[in-house]
């Protein structure tokens, strides 16, 4: 009963602790003749008292919340009656699912009465654990609060303590970035290693055929599956190249025009309009590519006698390119603006026209930054998912013809992971291996891009 209110209760207790500490410090101050005799303000004493109990309580609570399923599951599995004991991990997972559904009152009709019993036991174990954890948390809070309450005196440096704690919390928040990266690396790396144990890494990186369907029984025809990722890499590369062929010229030209030639009025209208393109969700582009652009290209191709697949790489690449235009143009805009006015003035002074200034002075000066921006855009094109999931094909086709359907890394990750999953089959693990490759590739591109951009920026500062 306490458990469902545990979190609010923790907060309530902390608030009470604050008030206790606050009033005790005031009382001490009164005895000594005013607040000026305290080392810190009363609210610092209050905060110290509150934080003393709150932080450990929250920590334990969070740890418990994140491990409770695992702990309770392990207990119930070890206690299963003989009649329900099963062999494999997969069957265990199914059984657990049954039990949990029964506990939640969503039991299937006509299920095993033994499950009902286990479900009862599950509930009991879970509630016991919850009781223990609630008791531990509340006792700990009470103890720590009392301790810090007793410690309050006029010489206690409460402000320094509180500020130290706040600073630590701030630091921990910024460390979440490192934890996230670590989480990404660990989650894709472990599953990938499991994958590479089944499929050798050489076959994966250099194999020419991709068909991840694994047969359920070992004796079925074509049961092996093929995990050669070259066709996928080629498809990704092709669609990204088409996208960049659209995005680089259009983005760059519009950035140069807007920053060097356009009058102010045109700029204030056109720039936000271009940025709308960046704000449209990718799923909308995907819908548009699949339903409007792809048929249009197919019909146009049919008109001049070319056979175009209805999920052609061209359609997906073209729409992806449009999506990336504002990305290229705003990054180029930044670097063009960073070129100092003195360079332009010098060029005009020598009699160059505006175009010549752009061509021979500004563009070369901005080039490293532009290259950095383009690299970032490439990494975005490679990692873009929804457009290709909706508009590109599923079959891994090793071709250089942009009118045929190809598939990409992201499409494969989505198709392999959406729907039912079995975490031991190479089919599912392959998605994580592809994710690892994608992560490493984009990481390298980003690192190079950031390096290039940073190096360039320092030249004028």
């Amino acid at each position: 009963m306490i458990y469902s209110f545990l979190f609010p209760l923790i907060l309530l207790l902390a608030a009470a602790a604050f008030w206790l500490g606050y009033s005790r410090s005031l009382k001490i101050a009164d005895n000594l003749g005013g607040i000026k005799n305290l080392h810190s303000l009363p609210r610092h004493y209050g905060m110290m008292t509150a934080l003393a109990g709150l932080l450990p309580a929250l920590l334990i609570y969070l740890i418990w919340v994140s491990v409770q399923t695992g702990v309770v599951d392990a207990r119930i599995i070890s206690e299963l009656p003989e009649s329900l004991k099963v062999e494999t991990k997969g069957q265990n997972a199914l059984l657990l699912n049954d039990i949990k559904n029964t506990v939640a009152g969503r039991g299937s009709i006509g299920h095993d009465p033994a499950i009902d019993e286990v479900a009862q036991r599950y509930k009991q174990i879970r509630d016991n654990y919850r009781m223990v954890v609630s008791a531990v948390i509340l006792l700990l809070m009470a103890g720590l609060t009392t301790y810090s309450y007793r410690a309050i005196s006029n010489t206690l440096r409460a402000r320094n303590i509180v500020e130290g704690i706040i600073k630590t919390v701030l630091m921990l928040c910024s460390a979440v970035a490192i934890l996230t990266t670590l989480g990404i690396v660990l989650s894709v790396l472990f599953e990938s290693i499991r994958f590479f144990r089944i499929i050798p890494i050489r076959d994966f990186l250099f194999g020419l055929s991709w068909s991840p369907q694994m047969a359920i029984r070992a004796d079925q025809v074509g049961s092996s599956g093929a995990f050669g990722a070259i066709p996928i890499f080629a498809g990704t590369f092709m669609i990204a190249s088409i996208a960049m062929m659209v995005a680089i010229p259009v983005g760059l030209l519009s950035a140069i025009y807007l920053s060097e030639f356009a009058n102010k009025k045109f700029r204030t209208v056109a720039k936000p309009l271009l940025e709308i393109l960046a704000g449209i969700p990718t799923v909308v582009y995907g819908f548009f590519a699949a339903l409007t652009v792809a048929p249009l290209i197919r019909d146009a191709g049919g008109f001049i006698g070319l056979s175009v697949a209805s999920e052609s790489a061209l359609a997906a690449g073209l729409v992806m390119g449009i999506m990336i235009i504002p990305f290229v143009s705003s990054l180029s805009d930044d670097v063009i603006h960073a070129v100092p006015q003195a360079l332009r003035d010098g060029s005009y002074g020598l009699g160059a026209t505006k175009f010549e200034t752009v061509r021979y002075v500004i563009f070369p000066a901005a080039l490293p930054g532009i290259v950095g921006g383009i690299l970032l855009a490439v990494s975005r094109a490679v990692g873009e998912t929804m457009i290709v999931v909706m508009a590109a094909g599923l079959a891994a086709n090793l071709t250089a013809n942009p009118l045929e359907a190809v598939t990409t890394v992201t499409v494969q990750i989505v198709t392999l992971l959406v729907g039912d999953q079995e975490f031991d089959s190479p089919k599912t693990l392959a998605a994580f291996a592809l994710g690892l490759i994608l992560f490493i590739f984009t990481l390298c591109l980003n690192a190079i891009a950031l390096y290039v951009v940073r190096k360039y920026r320092e030249q004028y500062e």
Binding site: T69, G70, D73, R159, E163, K167, L170, M171, C173, S174, V176, A177, T180, T181, G183, I184, L186, S187, V188, F190, V250, L253, S254, Y257, L258, F261, L273, L274, L277, G279, I280, P281, T282, V283, Y285, G286, F287, F288, L291, I322, I325, T353, F355, R380, V382, T385, M386, V389, M390, T410, V414, L417, V418, A431, G435, L438, F439, L443, N446, A449
Partner: protein, 425 residues
């Protein structure tokens, strides 16, 4: 410029070259304008396509039926178990008494949406007094009829290729002549969850799912992002750990969103055991994804507060923490909020990571909390876009319009806040 070089004292050769140089500039300018026009034309094309495809989904075809709630149907105790479809079928048969044969009758009965019987059931359950009376009610038509009424069925094609047969067209004509069929505002679209039938499908479940997801995202990413920005901008010593954190944040901002989905699947779902398909896990994944955006915006905002504010506060004896929390943070808050709204708008439009954590399930029930299975608005769009029925194309476009409306509102709010609270020092 032209006037100047007409009077130019230089040779004809020079003037010719100068003219060529200006022509090159003109060509380049033209190229620049056409690049912008290309992008804008595409934007217009996209919006026009979506709107022209989707506006009709806000209206829905309804048919007038005179239903006799016969007592014989409600013999049993349980009102929910009565055969409501039979009531509808009889009403249709009475309207078209000359329809003979099982196939023709089945076609006729199929012209009313399967949702109609639930409508009748709700009516009877609300007011059991209806039993034995005859009522005239409006029920939704089947999606094929809806498409026909909206003019999407090409009647010049051979009959076998059409979803609407000649006979059905005749019946519809009878309804039209008697004023018994009309397009009304489509409330179902805004109040119900997903459905296999386009005429019964709505976005409310997805909107609520998105809402719960964004609440989690906002509640976690805003405080954490601001705290991280404060630390990095105001307290962090220049050392290796700090620069490692900075590199990490910049990198995470450019990591493909689908990778965050993989993280959510492997760690939040498989390792921590958070239930799949729930706004809770969706919110956690989107939090990690939007954190870098918010941190970067918040840092820029903190940077723009002039150092004199900090120096003044420190000078009168405030501690470093007091300086930041009492003086710098309030001044930087508008910029932080703007950045947060933009980050939330990104999170609202994000689809790929949600596919990874199972928010693509077919969900009819409207989620009531953070741990109910739910879809999100962009995922709903993805699901509908995959459906073959013509009726779903229309619904997809309409859902996109709703999503874009949310995004426009959020971005407009951000722009408004930036304009209103912008402080120039």
């Amino acid at each position: 410029m032209d006037a100047q070089h007409k009077e130019s004292p230089f040779s004809g050769e020079f003037n010719k070259r100068l003219k060529q140089r200006y022509q090159a500039q003109q060509r380049f300018k033209l190229l620049g304008i056409s690049a912008i026009m290309f992008a804008l034309a595409f934007l217009a094309f996209l919006l026009i396509t979506i709107i022209s495809n989707g506006y009709s989904a806000f209206r829905q075809t309804y048919v007038e039926l005179t239903v006799n709630f016969e007592k014989s149907i409600f013999e049993g105790e349980d009102l929910a178990r009565a055969n409501y479809q039979a009531l509808i079928n009889r009403a249709l048969d009475e309207k078209f008494p000359d329809v003979e044969g099982r196939r023709a009758k089945r076609t006729l009965h199929g012209m009313i949406s399967t949702g109609a019987r639930y409508q009748l059931m709700d009516m009877v359950q609300d007011d059991p007094g209806l039993i034995g009376t005859t009522q005239t009610i409006w029920v939704p038509a089947d999606d094929d009829i809806d498409m026909f009424m909206k003019g999407y069925v090409d009647m010049s094609q051979p009959e076998s290729d059409r979803r609407i047969k000649d006979q059905q067209a005749q019946w519809i004509q009878t309804w039209i002549d008697n004023n018994m069929i009309k397009l009304r505002f489509n409330r179902t679209f805004f109040t119900s969850g997903d459905s296999r039938d386009p005429e019964l499908a709505g976005i409310w479940a997805a909107v609520k799912g998105s809402f719960y997801t964004l609440v989690i995202t906002l509640a976690l990413s805003f405080p954490m992002g601001v705290a991280a920005a404060i630390y990095l901008e105001e307290f962090a010593p220049v050392n290796r750990i700090t620069s490692l954190i900075e590199i990490n944040i910049n990198n995470l901002a450019a990591v493909p969103s689908i990778i965050f989905g993989l993280l959510g699947l492997a760690i939040f779902i498989n390792f921590w055991g958070i239930p799949r398909s729930t706004p809770l896990v969706g919110g956690l994944v989107l939090t990690l994804m939007t954190l870098p955006t918010i941190i970067i915006a918040a840092r820029a905002s903190l940077k723009s507060v002039p150092p004199s504010i900090r120096e003044a506060a420190l000078g009168v004896g405030a501690s470093k923490i007091q300086t930041v929390f009492h003086h710098v943070l309030p001044l930087a808050m508008p910029g932080m909020l703007t950045g947060t709204i933009i980050g939330m708008a990104q999170a609202l439009g994000e689809t790929a990571p949600l596919l990874m954590i199972g928010m693509v399930a077919f969900i009819v029930d409207i989620p009531g909390g953070f741990t109910d299975p739910a879809a999100a608005l962009p995922v709903q769009i993805y699901l509908w876009a995959d459906s073959p029925e013509r009726g779903f194309t229309e619904k997809t476009s309409a859902a996109i319009m709703v999503l874009l409306a949310f995004l426009v509102t959020m971005n407009a709010l951000a722009v408004y806040m930036r304009k209103k609270f912008e402080i120039t020092w």
